[in-house]
């Protein structure tokens, strides 16, 4: 990990990720915070690439920067009368203390521990041309049970989200003019 490109890439991408995360915290507008969150996700995907994790980096861009952020935009748009400022609650001081404590604890342990890590030539020996094949073999080999459970979990999550947000059918028990009245009210509220 001492080639010039990786060193520069690591520092630039770390700066992008950490600064964007901080901007999510301090942004005044919820939509701006969301945009910085996407930037943090993309910086994180770049960090994954510097760790030669190409499959996970692409999955990160597709799932986090693509789907989850679009889902969050939808959630913001579906709550139009709610406040759009990115305000803090009463617990901002405990939150900052907890965040600083966790970050400094992790940093201290990471720097202070003598990790049994590969360096130099041993690290270069463990390079993969592409991780996709090996990850696929692991997912459908040793971890096939967890893989199937994860697929069932995704299916249940999908069905649960649909069941939770579906509109209740009240029109069947109402007369047509009442239904039209309700529809007009709902339209007005939106």
């Amino acid at each position: 990990m001492d080639s010039t490109g990786i060193v520069i890439g690591f520092w630039v991408l770390s700066a992008i990720t950490v600064v964007s995360s901080l901007l999510v915290l301090v942004a005044r507008n919820l939509m701006h915070a969301l945009a910085f969150l996407v930037l943090a996700f993309l910086g994180m995907a770049g960090l994954f690439i510097t760790l030669s994790a190409d499959f996970v980096a692409v999955a990160q861009v597709l799932i986090y920067a693509g789907s989850i952020s679009v889902l969050m935009v939808f959630a913001v748009m579906l709550t139009p009368l709610a406040s759009r400022d990115n305000g803090n609650s009463l617990y901002v001081l405990p939150g900052v203390v907890a965040g600083l404590g966790i970050a400094s604890l992790v940093a201290f342990v990471a720097v202070d521990t003598e990790w049994a890590e590969r360096t130099g030539a041993a690290l270069a020996e463990s390079d993969f041309a592409s991780t996709v094949g090996e990850v696929g073999r692991l997912l459908l080999g040793r971890y096939v049970l967890a893989f199937e459970v994860a697929s069932v979990l995704l299916l249940i999550g999908l069905l649960g989200a649909i069941v939770l947000v579906q509109e209740r059918r009240r029109a069947a028990t109402q007369s047509p003019d009442e239904a039209a009245d309700t529809g007009a009210r709902d339209g007005g509220a939106l």
Binding site: A53, A59, Q60, I68, M72, S89, A107, A116
Partner: protein
């Protein structure tokens, strides 16, 4: 890589762990201190992302696995974390929309029905 002064610069496991700890701490702060339910979810996603970075960094640098012995287990773990994060985000945002329908707000300070 060598600096002009002759010092050697390299990136080690500790660098990645420090970045991961910083992002996790920021995510914790966001999750604890934001008022909007969607902003809280953003903090949780940042925390999950920091954990992914830790898993991948250990997978890359750790010498616990001798050569050729499942060196990519960390990557498989990250795939599962991504799956669970996607399901969790879908359910949590559905709950935020449901909350908005009931109370016309997603302000968590005003959702205190169960406060004693």
């Amino acid at each position: 890589m060598n600096l002009p002064g002759g010092d050697e610069v390299t990136v080690t496991l500790a660098h990645y762990l420090v970045v991961s700890g910083l992002v996790f701490g920021i995510g914790t702060t966001i999750a604890l201190s934001k008022r909007n339910a969607i902003a809280v979810l953003m903090g949780i996603e940042l925390m999950l992302n920091a954990v992914n970075l830790t898993l991948l960094a250990f997978s890359r640098f750790s010498s616990a696995f001798p050569a050729g012995e499942e060196p990519l287990s960390g990557h498989a773990f990250v795939v599962f974390v991504l799956t669970v994060a996607a399901a969790e985000a879908a359910i949590a945002l559905a709950m935020a929309v449901l909350l908005y329908r009931r109370r016309e707000t997603v302000d968590l300070d005003r959702v205190n029905l169960m406060r004693w």
